[in-house]
Subunit: 189 residues, 2 copies
DNA sequence: CATCTATATAGATGTATATCGAATGAGAAG
DNA sequence: CTTCTCATTCGATATACATCTATATAGATG
């Protein structure tokens, strides 16, 4: 779908997929540091540190402040926390696939009703509600079954009105209750 | 400090730092898929898909279910969401640096009082409280100054008792109020 | 302007890895 | 047992990139 989301995520994860850069983030967690300080702490040459800082900067993870010749780098912790929270929610990951997979409409429904990891609301339309309910059913992976408390716990991650969701899922025969234990129907593959 | 945290984060971010694997996650967001389906959707050979799935599995991002010869892969969304939330909080990133930087004690204090992105409590000890307050001061990067509401907003990300934090920071001369606007003291570099 | 200091850029090199075709494994079906 | 299907493992290749030395920029200082 959204080629832009993909590029942003790639930039973000690539910046973090390196041992040296993670160590740098560790050092920058407590305070800002100059290129020289980082080079000394990590036992690397300064050009190498510059190279890594450029990648972190490009990904929007650090900021720079000059003081004379010295460049002080600091974590952009607002961006860091906010983005790491939103990076892998359904709302985001849905945008990572093209529609060649044939389920374009379902993806759109899911995309429309998710805000981050949470459901905006339970769709009023029966067809759209079915899409959401099927997606929720896929979050129950155990063949062993779940107690009602466990069911509520999982559903609660996505919406406050767990009772409605649970009732609707039973009605749609996505889960069934027997002797106080809920079982998921085998995937319709 | 913790070599294990580093290895785990590296595994996680490396798994996500590839365009093809992000596209796979996009496809798996809606439903489980077989290796063949993924290969078709992404226009790649099956060995390539296997290779990528192995990496995602190693990082604990997907699970596998066999049905005859067919292997169905699904997102481990619990692990995905939980971990992406905790991955880059101060509590975690503090563990990424060795103590060669000379601020071992400060790091320990920060590590002790952070749970994820939140402060467990405001340290009673004056010295430890000073460490926390200095760290908080570094979250204010603008030279332009902040309104009281903005100060509360930033502090509120870390602890509920923003009034105490704000008062203590003024007392420690880390921020100062003039005409309703708060300014941060220049970093003690 | 000349010089010194802290970074950044360029170019070179070695290692890591994404991808493929070929070979191998492991259920299902005849 | 043989064959077929779906998947994984192996070996080869080509590209990406982390690191280095050498060179260039840019602010501070004489």
């Amino acid at each position: 779908m959204n080629e832009d989301t993909l590029a942003t995520l790639l930039l973000f994860f690539r910046a973090l997929a390196d041992e040296t850069r993670l160590r740098m983030i560790g050092l920058l967690t407590t305070q800002e540091r100059s290129v020289e300080e980082l080079a000394a702490a990590l036992d690397l040459r300064m050009p190498t540190i510059s190279h890594h800082l450029a990648k972190l900067k490009e990904a929007g993870l650090v900021t720079m402040r000059r003081e004379g010749n010295t460049h002080y780098y600091a974590l952009d912790s607002v961006s860091l926390h906010a983005r790491s929270r939103e990076m892998l929610t359904p709302a985001t990951t849905l945008a990572l696939a093209d529609d060649t997979s044939g389920d374009a409409w379902e993806r759109k429904v899911l995309h429309d009703f998710f805000v981050g990891e949470r459901l905006k609301e339970i769709p009023a339309s029966r067809k759209k509600r079915a899409v959401i309910l099927r997606w929720l059913a896929r979050q129950f992976t155990s063949r062993e079954g779940y107690t009602e408390a466990q069911v509520n716990d999982i559903l609660g991650r996505f919406h406050a009105d767990v009772a409605t969701l649970r009732r609707e899922m039973v009605g749609a025969q996505l889960i069934s209750r027997e002797g106080g234990i809920y079982h998921v129907a085998p995937p319709a593959a």
